[in-house]
């Protein structure tokens, strides 16, 4: 019987400090057994359990994209026991990854649609995965306009800065990068909170436009009315939820919102679905 609790062994291939306050690091893992990479076939929006023997597991959204081969990437905020331990690990260390887990952004439904990506702070990992996926030459034509609104506290707190600035230069994606504030006189992008940028810059919704929203609760709270203003209906707003998880496969029972399990039935839900469940996230 297949054992869903057994992680694939991986080696830490690279560690990058992702933000200026060093609270986030991006880990690149390579599978010890090449065959495991195929078994780990994932879609943008899914997550995995990073598994450190003797320490524990932690569910993290997959930041690399299905179109990037040979490695998987995760950007991890140092907060609890496992993430603190992980931040102290070094290149070459062996650990495990269990997954891919959960559902993904509804790529089938998003075909031939305008996609608006709205992210804030650390919650840009699976959005990075999604953008890389959509911009891949094999995929770009499957989507209509792509807009990205992404904000952080300061320029140094933006994740994947080089990628962001590269995307900025392209003409097949509309980037709206913003920071809450900056004293950098050369900052050439927006300043202001994400909801304000959404209000001003996000495309007005028609029935073919979908927004994917990931961010801290305060950002989500104020982005929702902005989207409603722009004509987005609840089924057009797609969100990824976080809850405390252990098993990641819908068995251990803690991550539910109503009868839905965030780990297995989610983490991706439409606002319409979320409105029908208790807000226990």
């Amino acid at each position: 019987m297949e054992n869903p609790y057994v992680p694939y062994p991986v080696r830490i291939d690279d560690i990058e400090v992702a933000t200026e306050d060093k609270s986030l690091k991006t880990f690149t893992f390579v599978f010890q057994n090449p065959a495991d990479e195929e078994k780990f076939a994932y879609k943008a929006g899914q997550f995995a359990e990073l598994s450190i023997p003797g320490v524990g597991e932690i569910p993290i959204g997959i930041a690399s994209s299905p179109v990037e081969k040979g490695f998987v990437k995760f950007t991890v905020f140092r907060t609890g026991m496992v993430t603190s331990h992980l931040h102290n690990m070094k290149k070459g260390d062996i650990m495990g990854i269990r997954g891919p887990l959960g559902n993904w952004y509804p790529w089938e439904k998003l075909e031939n649609k305008n996609v608006v990506i709205i992210g804030g702070g650390f919650a840009f990992t699976t959005l990075r995965s999604s953008i890389v996926y959509m911009l891949d030459p094999a995929n770009r034509s499957r989507f209509k306009n792509i807009d990205v609104i992404y904000g952080a506290r300061s320029p140094g707190m933006l994740l994947y800065r080089e990628k962001l600035f590269d995307w900025e230069k392209r003409d097949d994606i509309n980037m709206h990068i913003t920071v809450d504030s900056t004293d950098d006189p050369d900052w050439k992008y927006h300043t202001g909170f994400v909801p304000q940028i959404v209000e001003k810059n996000a495309p007005v919704a028609d029935e073919d436009t979908y927004a994917i929203v990931c961010g801290p609760p305060i950002m989500i709270k104020f982005t929702q009315p902005a989207l409603t203003q722009l004509g987005y209906q609840d089924h057009q707003v797609i969100m990824s939820l976080e809850n405390k998880m252990k098993c990641g496969i819908g068995m251990c029972g803690r991550c539910n919102i109503g009868k839905e399990l965030v780990c297995k039935d989610g983490p991706v839900f439409t606002l319409e679905q979320i409105n029908q469940t208790p807000k226990e996230y």
């Binding site: 019987m1 057994v6 524990g56 597991e57 819908g250 539910n256 469940t277």
Partner: protein, 349 residues
């Protein structure tokens, strides 16, 4: 379906014969009342015991269970690679399980054995286990199993259902597993099927008549989740709760667990423990945020899960078999029967 009779004089001898192939579990008396435990070679199940304080779920789902281990010794080639722990999945038999407890195991099965994932620890233990139930001739006053969709002579989830006829047991063999067990015990005195079934029916009706407690569940599925969730009665329901989790630990259908790692010397072990939605840690995010940070939220979660979410998700009634253990064990007398009634009768104003 065949029936056999087992003379009580032969019962212990039969169990001894079966010990060659089975690990035997059964009720025994200890200082805290009756418990279901693995039986030492010279111990026999206390078949006429009352309801066990803890449910039999631990036979398949121990409170603490090792799942994976890894060596952290870097000189070893497979260091930091987690591997499943070897399990003893030799046949085991649970003697004297109460019929509603066997039904509870079928409910737990919905969680551990589903179309997407199979939990190998639970599933393999389940496959290795034979459930020999004993019909309950004299149900307790806390027993409301008939209104929870099972009953004192329910057959669901059992491999054998026995009836106590004073000097003998009449056993209805329900599955191949049950047949194999009966053979291993050398129980082969067959009984007339029609007569036996008639006897079972009489006993069942008699026992069901003695059940006085009940819950109403008929209107739970038509309510909306959010209406019940936002209902005003939860503060009152939760007031006395001390969030100890006794209700979840004694419950035969509660399946939630925690996963923990421990390291001893150079060996890392990952294991699981029963967890409880009554504990604030159950949902406590590393950030400090807790979506069920208050007692009322946690108490509501337990009852909403059992009496609404489960009902909606599986369409198999409530996630409760009416054993009454939580009613008897709750130190502050929160009574699921009352809560179920309140939920079932609730009308949003």
């Amino acid at each position: 379906m065949n029936f056999i009779t087992i003379d009580k004089k032969d019962w212990a001898g039969g169990i001894d014969k079966s010990r060659k192939t089975y690990r035997v579990f059964g009720p025994v008396q200890d200082e805290n009342g009756c418990q279901l435990k693995p039986l030492a070679p010279d111990v026999y199940p206390l078949m006429d015991a009352g309801v066990t304080v803890m449910s039999p779920k631990s036979v398949l789902f121990p409170q603490t269970e090792k799942m994976l281990t890894a060596t952290l010794d870097e000189s070893s080639e497979d260091h930091h690679i987690m591997k499943p722990v070897e399990k003893d999945n030799t046949p085991r038999v649970v003697l004297g399980i109460r019929p509603y407890d066997a039904r509870a195991i079928q409910m737990v099965k919905l969680n551990f054995d589903n179309p997407d994932y199979q939990d190998p620890y639970w599933c393999e233990a389940y496959d290795a286990t034979t459930f020999v139930g004993l019909g309950i001739n004299r149900p307790d006053s806390c027993d409301f199993s008939t209104s929870a969709g099972t009953g004192p002579f329910s057959e669901e989830g059992l491999d054998v259902l026995m009836a106590d006829l004073d000097d003998r047991y009449l056993a209805k063999i329900l599955t191949e597993k049950g047949e194999t067990w009966a053979e291993a015990c050398g129980f082969d005195t067959s009984a007339d099927a029609a007569e036996s079934q008639a006897l079972f029916d009489i006993l069942r009706k008699e026992a069901e008549k003695n059940i006085t407690a009940s819950v109403d569940t008929d209107r739970l599925s038509e309510k909306s989740i959010l209406d019940l969730y936002e209902a005003p009665f939860w503060d009152d329901v939760a007031f006395s709760c001390i969030n100890c989790g006794t209700c979840t630990f004694v419950c035969p259908t509660c399946w939630c667990f925690d996963i923990q790692d421990e390291t001893k010397h150079k060996t890392a072990t990952r294991f699981r423990n029963w967890d409880t939605c009554m504990s604030p840690l159950f949902t406590h995010h590393a950030s400090g945020h807790n979506p069920r940070g208050s007692k009322v939220q946690r108490v509501r979660q337990r009852f909403m899960h059992k009496l609404k979410y489960f009902v909606d998700k599986y369409d198999q009634g409530i996630m409760c078999v009416g054993c009454g253990r939580c009613v008897a064990s709750c130190p502050v007398n929160i009574d699921i029967r009352e809560v179920c009634k309140t939920m079932n009768n609730y009308e949003k104003e």
